[in-house]
């Protein structure tokens, strides 16, 4: 069967068996390897992408569930020459060490700031629940997101 989806603004038609998941299609078929897969059961948050604007675990999205969808991955948020504000904040505040969870953290944080531009620390913690990190101990991740929110409010003030 084939599905059609738009990833980071680019339209794709993908031939796939129905028993494959969105993260497999992104990584293996479209070669967008920024999105990682770890737990494969929707717990760890590493495979977080935006599906029609909402954060989801792409490891639980069957191919057909992405048919006709708009998908945004980490590759759609910035470029090497022009990092997104959240990406820059994760560098400025040391919001990562090994980096495996980072694409998922940044996609989830970007969705948070789209919905709540100036979140409190508690709102950040609630929103980011389930984006697991085994290196940083979370504090610098929270600082990064609050930092990105501050930078944004300064930029728009």
């Amino acid at each position: 069967m084939s599905i059609e989806l738009t990833v980071n603004g680019q339209h794709y038609e993908v031939q796939t068996a129905p028993n494959r998941t969105l993260v497999e299609i992104l990584r293996d078929d479209l070669r967008l390897t920024g999105t990682k897969e770890a737990c494969s059961i929707g717990v760890c948050g590493v495979c977080t992408v935006l599906l029609d604007g909402r954060i989801v675990s792409s490891c639980l999205v069957l191919a057909q569930m992405a048919d006709g969808a708009q998908v945004t991955t980490i590759e759609g948020l910035g470029s090497e020459d022009h990092l997104s504000p959240v990406q820059q904040a994760f560098i400025d505040h040391g919001g990562f060490q090994c980096g495996i969870c980072t694409p998922g953290q940044i996609v989830a944080a970007t969705a948070l700031l789209d919905e709540i531009p100036s979140p409190t620390a508690d709102q950040v913690k609630e929103w980011m629940t389930g984006n697991l990190c085994r290196c940083t101990g979370y504090y610098t991740i929270i600082e990064s997101i609050l930092g990105a929110a501050d930078a944004h409010s300064r930029a728009t003030a």
Binding site: G42, V56, Q64, T129
Partner: protein, 291 residues
């Protein structure tokens, strides 16, 4: 994951016909957050997947009707959590959904899927049993409403037939002077399953002091959602006081049958069931007094 044939019916009738045709070999797909994991682990290997997500209209939406709310089974948990209608008319459901897993899961998982999954550790069934909710189910031969209280049979087993689809959740209006809460004990992480979950509904009589009606419902405390009817009956006609709640909680602990697992021993969970029943009743009373 096994290979399967994928079907995308446009109407509930078409979906029912597919279930008639494929019987036990078919599974319904809504949010997929439970089913896809079971399929990945090869615990479920359907030959046919019937995707309800393209079914138009009737299984979505939230409607305020004269006798209560009708909630379309395909509504995602996140949609309901932030729905102004739910927040206004059934705040305990919004509060409960906020405690389910993570937002990534709530963005996909539907209320109907959650109720039909039959996992006794899930939160929404507990809160909705306390609200006397019913589920409307449809098959090619007709429609029936099942009180959620009698819907659960055993671990992952409900009274749904293989040919039936849960289409709506019906929540009757609550009585005056009634308040419902759901408490979830999470000693590990925020996104975990409950160690014990308790919903309590307290309805006071016209004096405003005595319990005219009560619901005490527990999750993660047995092979199904557990309604602690003896604890409820302890409260009837009694003044709504901490002493009465303590007595009800002591009775309620004998009505649960939890399993020992990595969230604690059965004995620990029984202790916590008692503590959480008491706290839930206190919280319901505090809600009635507007604090």
């Amino acid at each position: 994951m096994n290979r399967f044939a994928y079907h995308a019916p446009q109407t509930v009738d078409e979906a029912c016909a597919l279930l008639e045709q494929y019987g036990d070999d078919a599974r319904l797909l809504a949010g997929g957050t439970a089913l896809v994991i079971l399929m990945k682990q090869e615990l479920v290997q359907p030959g046919h997947l019937v995707d309800l997500r393209r079914v138009s209209g009737s299984m979505r939406g939230v409607e305020v009707q004269h006798d209560g709310l009708r909630i379309g089974a395909l509504m995602t948990q996140r949609e309901l959590e932030v729905s102004s209608t739910i927040v206004e008319h059934l705040p305990v459901l919004a509060q409960t959904l906020r405690k389910v897993a993570t937002m990534r899961i709530r963005n996909m998982a539907t209320l109907g899927g959650n109720l039909a999954h039959g996992d006794p550790s899930l939160d929404p069934p507990v809160a909705l049993v306390a609200c006397d909710a019913l589920v409307r189910v449809r098959s090619s031969s007709g429609e029936r409403d099942i009180p959620l209280d009698t819907f659960y049979v055993d671990y992952y087993e409900t009274s749904l037939q293989p040919t039936e689809i849960l289409t709506d959740v019906l929540v009757p209006n609550s009585a005056p002077r009634s308040h419902t809460v759901y408490l979830k004990l999470l000693p590990r992480s925020q996104d975990d399953y409950a160690t014990v979950g308790v919903a309590a509904r307290l309805t006071l009589d016209e004096s405003g002091t005595r319990c005219a009606d009560a619901r005490v419902v527990l999750g993660a405390a047995g092979s199904t959602v557990v309604r602690a009817r003896q604890a409820e009956s302890v409260l009837l006609g009694q003044d709504a006081t901490a002493a009465a709640f303590r007595e009800a909680a002591a009775v309620g602990r004998r009505e649960v049958d939890p399993l020992s697992d990595n969230r604690g021993s059965a004995e620990y969970k029984r202790d916590m069931a008692e503590v959480m029943i008491r706290r839930a009743l206190l919280a319901a009373l505090a809600g009635l007094h507007g604090s």
